[in-house]
């Protein structure tokens, strides 16, 4: 009944000899928000970069096992990495607007694809900024530098930039870690709205955020997936002692 979108099978990742993800098995369902929690350096961010193969850029990075996205093994050599990354848009922990205008930031992805039609771009930029909840704040200064926005605005811009890719999946790597509570709230509200169109994987160092937003939650520890279940179950009656300890704030 549940539609499996991403299948992670016996997947491990290494930096040089050091394993950073150990034998992960995980199914991600279409249309859900999967929260990933765990202490620092538990491998949760690495897991995200394995899904869109950004880890390819790091020297000494190596994987074993399989990740199937809609049935396609993404670590086959023939996979077009750029196309893969467009399907799995990613938002990073610190907002990184490229040094260009707000408009150009959002239009960056479509333009890579060869989109030059001014009207289509205009519409797309407005649409994505609107979905990311930023349109009202910036509509009069689209041509100004994106570096002039506040931190919260920058992060919503990054989200809009990802939406402009028309991705199927959105990967978020601690997207609110540097933001104030109000900006965080705005982003969380946006994520709930986006859920109906996208499958969202949200890595967060804030367990409460997972509890607020995620349908299911996975707990990572030292490169291992300890358990994954409905968010409510993870937060009320986890099956592993370590999950319970982490959620109760005993470590991490």
């Amino acid at each position: 009944m549940k539609d499996i979108a991403i299948q992670v099978i016996n997947f491990s990742h290494f930096y040089g000899q050091q394993p950073s993800l150990k034998n992960i098995n995980l199914d991600i369902y279409r249309g859900e928000i999967l929260g990933i929690i765990g202490p620092a350096r538990s491998g949760k961010s690495t897991f995200l970069t394995c899904l869109n193969r950004l880890n390819d850029l790091i020297p000494g990075s190596r994987v074993s096992g399989k990740i199937l996205i809609d049935g396609l093994d993404i670590y086959q050599p023939e996979v077009d990495v750029a196309a893969l990354r467009r399907r799995l848009g990613m938002v990073f922990a610190t907002p990184v607007p490229l040094p260009m205008s707000i408009y150009d930031n959002v239009a960056f992805g479509p333009r890579l694809q060869g989109q030059t039609d001014r009207q289509k771009l205009d519409r797309l930029v407005e649409d994505c900024l609107d979905k990311a909840g930023l349109w009202a704040e910036v509509k009069d200064r689209l041509k100004t530098s994106a570096l002039k926005l506040s931190g919260g605005q920058q992060q919503r811009l990054c989200l809009a930039r990802v939406l402009a890719l028309k991705p199927e999946y959105i990967l978020l790597d601690e997207p609110t870690s540097g933001l104030d509570p109000i900006s965080t709230m705005k982003i969380e509200a946006t994520l709930r709205l986006l859920k109906k169109d996208y499958t969202i994987i949200l890595v967060t160092n804030n367990t409460k955020q997972a509890a607020r937003v995620a349908d299911r939650t996975a707990f990572f520890l030292m490169g291992e997936l300890i358990e994954v279940d409905e968010t409510e179950i993870i937060f009320t009656r986890p099956s592993d002692k370590r999950t319970e300890n982490y959620i109760e704030g005993k470590f991490g």
């Binding site: 396609l72 086959q76 023939e78 996979v79 077009d80 196309a83 893969l84 399907r87």
Partner: protein
Amino acid sequence: MIRPKPNDRLIRLSLLTVALTAITVLAVITIFIFEQGLPVMVKYGLKNFLFGQDWYPSEKSFGLLPMIVGSLLVTLGALLIGVPLGLASAIFLTEFSSRRLSRLLKPVFELLAGIPSVVYGFLGLMFLVPFIRENLGGPGLSVLAASIILGIMILPTIISISIDSIRAVPDSYREGSIALGATKWQTVRMVVLPAARSGLVAGIILGMGRAIGETMAVIMVAGNAADLPASWLAPVRTLTSNIALEMAYASGEHRQALFATGVVLFVIIMILNFLANLAARKQSGR
């Protein structure tokens, strides 16, 4: 989503080809200079070339000793003038001057580096040479004149590299020394300069390379007599000037002998490059 991507490979390959230009040019230069210069060296004997004192190309006498000695002398002279001035300026700018002053002066030295060498030579010819002739004697065109001009010309090299290596010394060293009650100068002398030593040496060696390799400025002020100079006030001919002076009309073995001069110069420069590299690596390795 699956699609071959030959583009990236092609681009990488073309960029690699482009990136190999520098080393290729270096190889081609080496091959050409040696190809042209070696045969005549072998024919007349390496010893006669390097230690022969007579340069009479029309009589097939190709002794390079006066030019080798000349190059070394003017370089030594340039170092005697350029190193104290350069180091002093670098120390002053990094450790003793206000931030504003050093920001004002840095472009001044960069400008000094940008002025064409012929301009230096010309001013040497117009002012320095007559000054030496009238006050110290001799023809004025001399080892001394060449040394002074070269000393000034290598200043920017020495200053900018010294500044970089002094700046690279961590501030914690200075703070540690000041905290122990040392004065600023004691700190500089006993902590900063020793820590920056390799970088300073690299700068001096590079300046030396510039002095040995300089041509036009030297030709204009050195007098260019192909004899061993008897004193600081005697005219002198360097390896570079030897090439530049005669290249325009030389042919046959004479031209080859000029390339042989290039070989000697090339070898000296390579040794200096190697030493500078070694020194620079030592600094960054710390």
